[in-house]
Symmetry: C2
Subunit: 497 residues, 2 copies
Amino acid sequence: MTDPKLDRLKTLVGEVDDLRKASTILFWDQRVMMPPGGAQARAEASATVGRLAHEKFVAPEIGELLDGLNEADYEYDSFEASLIRVTRRDYEKAMRVPPELTGEMRRSSALALSAWGPAKQNSDFQSLLPHLERNLDLRHRYVECFPKPDETYDVLLDDYEPLMKTAEVREIFDELKRELVPLIQEIGDAGEVDSSFLRGEFDREQQREFALKVVRRFGYTDDEWRLDQTAHPFMTSPGEGDIRLTTNFRPNDLSSIFASMHEFGHGVYEWGVDASLRRTPLGSGVSLAVHESQSRSWENLVGRSRAFWRFFYPQLQQTFPAQLGSVDDEAFYRAVNKVHPSLIRIDADEVTYNLHIILRFELEQELIDSRLEPRDLPQAWNERMDEYLGIDVPDDARGVLQDMHWAGGSLGYFPTYSLGNVISVQIWARLQEDLGDIDEQMERGEFGEIREWLRTHLYVLGRKFTPQETIERVTGSRIDPGPYVRYLREKLAPQPA
Amino acid sequence: MTDPKLDRLKTLVGEVDDLRKASTILFWDQRVMMPPGGAQARAEASATVGRLAHEKFVAPEIGELLDGLNEADYEYDSFEASLIRVTRRDYEKAMRVPPELTGEMRRSSALALSAWGPAKQNSDFQSLLPHLERNLDLRHRYVECFPKPDETYDVLLDDYEPLMKTAEVREIFDELKRELVPLIQEIGDAGEVDSSFLRGEFDREQQREFALKVVRRFGYTDDEWRLDQTAHPFMTSPGEGDIRLTTNFRPNDLSSIFASMHEFGHGVYEWGVDASLRRTPLGSGVSLAVHESQSRSWENLVGRSRAFWRFFYPQLQQTFPAQLGSVDDEAFYRAVNKVHPSLIRIDADEVTYNLHIILRFELEQELIDSRLEPRDLPQAWNERMDEYLGIDVPDDARGVLQDMHWAGGSLGYFPTYSLGNVISVQIWARLQEDLGDIDEQMERGEFGEIREWLRTHLYVLGRKFTPQETIERVTGSRIDPGPYVRYLREKLAPQPA
């Protein structure tokens, strides 16, 4: 009954998937476990495994199998049709980029990333500039591998948010800007919230234990998950049933708790992909924005809610009595939801975060359209920080050098963060319609029904459909910033006295 | 000047080496870090990477390059001649075994290993028997892939100790048996040494700190090494400058200290291979026996010496004052060197250990020569334990089921342990001739000169020469049990009153 061509395709993409898993473990180990002396050998091993995964995927045999298979022979929703459709799209994209260019981009970004650390350390933009120029040149060559798009930036965006158009993002972000700039103003006018008790000495081992207590309630088990310490938090899954979170347990604040919930959100999405999609190109989250919607759901919609803290705050107080013993739960809730313009994206609150993103999105378009030269980035950055957030940037370390993305060659990645925020609330609204009063569950420390709703409605789908199709299937509508803006206003706008 | 064929060969074997490093990390991670839920995906990824490494190595292009290269064009000792010679031998061996058989052996041993755990747990030999029979059948098919050897067992031995013949091992082991059985008798007659204080409660974190203190003195640095906890200690090196030791910090004894020194010995051998041999088939230790000679040197010749403990024992006493405060250094030295026949190989002392090995070596030959049926293994095991060690085996868990090797399909591996003991003392004798009074250095906690001697005389050679050539270059003579027997007698025979 099954087409032998389809079986063969599954075998071949399964091998590619195995190699990608090997790459994932090489990456995780390098960040979390490897002694520094192993760096060179690891770079060689990673390059070879990555190259082989690519070579195996663009093999002529896969092209021939795809030529002989027709997704229209199967129901659109079926595994078979999705596998052919998604593999075909991945294959056609991969075939367009010559391996030499891929290699050059990889080398250039590796060099630039090595330069980025010291450049940020010394707030020395000039030392990074040649690398940024080189990365941008290569991105221009990359764009030329594809058919002429409506806007050049479309090609970059497509790598992170497949089929999303720049014009769509611009429309969404323009609405965010229009709504959020005045909201920030209103909140600022209402006076500053005290969050001083969130800084102090917090034992790292106790932070870790508390973070584990939280994510265990969400669904983390020792059988399928790990949580480790790294400088930069991330999630990776080197195989089904093997979800790895990392976070930075900073000694002087509680950010690790929110970072852990954030990474849990990424992890639980991968964890929940349907078993039938494993070891195929369908077996992971559908796009960065939808991924981010889940990390933001668990970090913000759950983890910064009153209901969540009603359950967990007494335990947190017990863990850190010296720092929090005299702080009541409402004061703590307000502090972890404090809206205040600041310099650093990754430390920004739920509202101003989006303006950090919009600024980057705009600068990226100007760079790829050659309306802005890389050497003029610091000035453009600083002007826009003043315009959007009323903030004076004291140095490039806390300005244009703060993120590694551009050094890494990633142009088009940033917008997915804010798109994720937007999507998270759309999905949450549907979840609340189905589940009713979820606050009551969270107040009891119960998150199983929430997780199961998300799993059965979203996570199981993996990459079977496009991101936009996926969002429509889950929420019933296209991506729409309305619910997100209303959520922010309801939660965070100053209450009339 | 360089032959482009040689450059191409280096490129190709470099890629194979990268894949083997990836395999190594997949293995280490599985044993040390992976949540159990990741097992299936990991098995698939490991199989694919392992298969690709094999396919890349037996690629026709490598055969053609080897056909066009002649080691005689270069000095025997040169990198070039060694690379061609060793790659040719590896290639010719690899080409003889059909991939289907390799695959079947891998699957069979994976299944047998899964069955071994419960079988040992329940002391249920019958449940493992069909797996052992299947493994043995496959080994017979494996042997048939090679030209008819003098003895069938030669083919098995060659995988672990290249070019070593069964007859040579038998001669060495016969001498060991002749010398050691009466030595054990003499020691037994002299009365039992008190070692009761070696059992008790020993905090695992303190064991770890002490073990680290020791191996740091030997040359372990955080820049290039790790030490982790596992049920079964092992060493692996997933890349140059990346040496990973594991050990089992048991809560009730101090075996972890000796196990850590043992694994350090394996690690420092890999660590010391000359940089010029990296990323080629020459870039690792030459054989299992020579490897074991180094783990045994650091565990026994260093770690069970009076001089070593003169330096470390006061620190160990401070670490565990309740257990060791009233035990003097001579009593401790005698306890950690206590010779006493016992059931379990991995816990055996320096002398009786070899009889555990000889027993296995003899049974393995009988199995592969079909003089012994797998179903008769328990009886044969128990009879020989009585004959060689005067020990009554109470159950198969503590008898024939204690080791995983046979379940894993490894026949021919065991003899390398005792060969390693023999070689270790031969090398040590040469080292002492060169360095003079090394006890004095060890008493001061200085091990750098010892390590450097071993590095420059042995470790740097990697796999450039055969094991026998390597031993001759280091010691000036062929493998010879004489020095080892004299060492054991001098160190451990009862002193005339």
